[in-house]
C-alpha cells in the first residue's frame, strides 16, 4: 500500500470518526486545520486507524505525530 492509498483510507477514517464529510486530508494537515480534531478525538482516531489498518502504534509514536504525513509514514514503515 503506497502513501496515496494510506492517505485515502485515513481520509475515510477521519470523516467517520470526526463526523465531518468535508474533510480532505493532505500530508501536511494538522489538528489546527480541523476543528473537531481535539486531544480526545486524536485518541479516537488513533484507535480507529489501528483497527482499520491492522497496525499498532506506541505511545511514543503517537505523541510524535505532528501532522497527517507523520501518521501515513508510520503506517507505511510498518507494512
Amino acid at each position: 500500500m503506497d502513501k496515496a492509498e494510506i492517505l485515502k483510507k485515513l481520509n475515510d477514517i477521519f470523516i467517520n470518526t470526526l463526523d465531518n464529510a468535508d474533510i480532505v486530508l493532505k500530508m501536511e494537515t494538522t489538528a489546527a486545520d480541523i476543528e473537531e480534531w481535539d486531544s480526545l478525538r486524536h485518541i479516537m482516531l488513533v484507535v480507529e486507524i489501528e483497527k482499520t489498518m491492522k497496525t499498532k502504534f506506541t505511545s511514543k509514536e503517537i505523541t510524535k505525530f505532528k501532522n497527517v504525513g507523520d501518521i501515513v509514514n508510520s503506517i507505511e514503515a510498518k507494512k
Binding site: 486531544s39 485518541i43 484507535v47 489501528e50 506506541t58 505511545s59 503517537i62 505523541t63
Partner: protein, 131 residues
C-alpha cells in the same frame, strides 16, 4: 499483587460547591479536601472520602476549558478512575503496550507529584498518580 492501587473516581461537575453539599447532605460524606486549582489541566478539583482509601474527585473545568465543557454538555459525568503507584516510571512502562499516553503533569492536588492520563483502546480514561 498489582502495582496499581485504586484512589478515586473522577466526576465532572459544573458547580463544585453545590456538588460537595449534595454528597455531604445526601450521603453523609463529610470528609472533604480543600479545593485545588490544577493549572496545567485548567480545572479545579477536590476529593470527597467515600470509603477506606477511596475518594470521589470532583473536577470543575475553568471557563476556557472548552474540551471539558463539551464533555459536560454531552452528559459525560463519570469520566476517569485514578490509581496511585509507588514507581511512576515503571507504571508508565508497564502501560506503554496496552494504553495510549495522553499527557503527564505535576499536580497541585498531590503535592506536585507526577500524574499521567492514559486511554485504554476502549476509550477508558485512567489517571496514574505517583505516591
Amino acid at each position: 499483587m498489582s502495582m496499581f492501587h485504586f484512589h478515586h473516581t473522577g466526576l465532572l461537575v459544573k458547580d463544585i460547591n453545590s456538588t460537595i453539599e449534595f454528597y455531604k447532605n445526601t450521603f453523609g460524606f463529610t470528609e472533604v479536601s480543600e479545593i485545588f486549582q490544577i493549572t496545567n489541566q485548567k480545572v479545579k478539583v477536590c476529593f470527597i472520602k467515600n470509603g477506606t482509601d477511596s475518594f470521589l474527585e470532583l473536577v470543575m473545568p475553568e471557563e476556557e476549558n472548552e474540551a471539558m465543557y463539551k464533555m459536560l454538555e454531552k452528559k459525560v459525568n463519570y469520566y476517569h478512575v485514578g490509581y496511585k503507584v509507588d514507581d511512576f516510571d515503571q507504571a508508565l512502562k508497564t502501560l506503554e503496550e496496552g494504553t495510549i499516553l495522553l499527557n503527564t503533569f505535576n499536580s497541585e492536588a498531590f503535592d506536585g507529584k507526577r500524574c499521567a492520563f492514559v486511554y485504554s483502546r476502549e476509550m477508558h480514561l485512567i489517571e496514574i498518580i505517583e505516591k
